[in-house]
């Protein structure tokens, strides 16, 4: 029982780490644009397939594929924002959320059109698992966790130490005030979308390494992303990272008691619990 528990804990840390990356951008943009962008999950799929092209079809090492996935997904995120969401600023938030569902539908089926509905895998060197206290720790999983942590620290540095980061936080905090102070809202939205897209793309590669690559892979974790963002307080980047880590851990540890098929129900259950227990909301001021 005990080693099994620690195994779930390790898996949860890995999953939480990769979950934290898309949650940052999702949460910041949710606060600024006031609609939940459901396409964030599918940005992971976009990154995963981009890396598949570079890694398998072009024969590049996975690190090159990771960088390519981040760049391409950042571009796709910005393009989608400019083509669709930008035309709907100041419109009813829920109509924009429906548009984002349409985007999910389109991106997923582009992947299905090109690569089919089947499962794909990266070509990465096979390593033996490291055994420690009776738990198996895959080298790719450890790499995922450390890279995800490094990305989170970079985001934290960017937000706290740079003018750009300050402007981003100011916008998430109070967009009207930020605009009065001369912050170019549209430019900030574009930069946040690019960073959020890039991080989601990286997360998609991690998810592809950890599990499999298939068209629905990204959208299937949108509940967890949403739950992490709510738990951390919408618009709060550090909260988003911690919230997503907590959700990742909760989902994996829940396997102690729950069949794995209902793993994704944990995120929804946590959302509903928050809604019932804290109807005042979680954004602390």
């Amino acid at each position: 029982m005990a080693p099994q528990f620690f195994q779930f804990l390790f898996n949860g840390a890995v999953y939480g780490g990769l979950l934290a990356l898309p949650t940052i951008g999702f949460s910041l943009l949710y606060k600024v644009l006031r609609f939940p962008n459901f396409a964030f999950g599918t940005y992971l799929t976009c990154g995963a397939y981009t890396a598949l092209v570079f890694n398998v079809e072009l024969g590049q090492p996975i690190l090159v594929a990771l960088v390519a996935a981040m760049v391409v997904t950042a571009g796709v995120g910005v393009a989608i924002d400019q083509i669709t969401f930008r035309k709907l600023r100041n419109q009813r938030a829920l109509a924009v959320a429906i548009v984002s569902i349409g985007v999910v539908f389109i991106l997923e089926n582009i992947a299905r059109f090109i690569w089919g509905g089947g499962l794909h895998y990266y070509r990465i060197p096979v390593h033996r698992d490291v055994q420690f206290l009776g738990i198996h720790m895959g080298k790719p999983q450890m790499a995922i966790f450390t890279t995800a942590l490094a990305f989170m620290m970079l985001v934290q540095l960017l937000l706290k130490r740079t003018r750009l980061g300050k402007a981003m936080r100011a916008l998430a905090d109070n967009s009207t005030l930020a605009e009065i102070k001369g912050i170019n809202t549209e430019r900030m939205i574009m930069i946040t979308t690019a960073i959020g897209g890039g991080l989601s793309g990286a997360s998609g590669v991690f998810l592809g390494i950890d599990t499999v690559i298939e068209p629905m892979m990204g959208f299937s974790i949108i509940l967890s992303i949403f739950a992490g963002a709510i738990l951390g307080g919408i618009g709060n980047a550090r909260g988003a990272m911690m919230g997503a880590m907590a959700i990742g851990l909760a989902e994996e540890v829940s396997l102690v008691a729950l069949p794995s098929t209902y793993k994704s129900a944990v995120g929804l259950a946590i959302i509903i619990l928050i809604l019932i227990l804290r109807p005042s909301g979680f954004t602390k001021r």
Binding site: I110, I222, L275
Partner: protein
Amino acid sequence: MTAYLVAIGTFVGIYAILALALNVQWGFSGLVNLGLVGFFAIGAYSTALLTVHGQPFIIGLAAAILLAALFGALLAMASLRLKEDFLAIVTLGFGEILRLFLINEDWLTKGTNGIKAIPRPWRQAFSGGYEYFYLFLVIVAVLLVYLILERVRIAPYGRVLRAIREDEEIASVAGKNTFRFKVQAFSLGAALAGLGGFLYAHYITYISPDTFVPALTIYIWVALMAGGSGNNGGAILGAVVLLGFLEGTRFLKDFIPFLSDVRLAATREIMVGVFLILLILYRREGILPERKTIP
């Protein structure tokens, strides 16, 4: 050819009821439902399970409508106290988890095998031409739902829903318990989706989790947005347009023979997605805009 048209007509009717259901929620009251397919599934499965075990159809019908309404009310109550956005994610999650439940709980739902040999109402009374009779039943159901919803729309009740949709604060300042209205409207829509599930299950006589995929929810959204959100006639027209499109693209294969089935399906879904976005961006009111004046 007539058999084909009768089948298409029956499907249009079932889609029309789903579009009318979404119209009560989104069109009248501005409530998002991204798990419409879940309520449809609850209706289909509850009546299927009851009637294959020998219960009368009326019990199946009541269970389909009431269970869907109950789930709708619960989800709405849990999520509508906060921002309305949360209804979007909660319903989306509900639809997905219900599907997982249908796949995994073999003891109840027979898992991916689905439920076979669902009985059809008054089947023994017909030696032939039953399909026409069922089409007639579906048309009666659509008309009934249409008349009820027109009544709701014109009544003061409908006016309150629209007021909540446009500006909830003003509606609540005017003394309306907006939370209760929203829960009721959402629950009514869910009940109608359950009715759609009833009609579907007894028409097809075989249901499995494969039918209740998220794509169906998107289809109904497209139907409602195309026909005219807020307009009951528009919801029905949208179902006709949707089925026309879905059936029309079937013949795409004759023109583009090198397209595999998977690619053809993907192309069709991409077109549906693009259509949905274009409608919201450029023609929010649909073909038949909501009527602003009430007779």
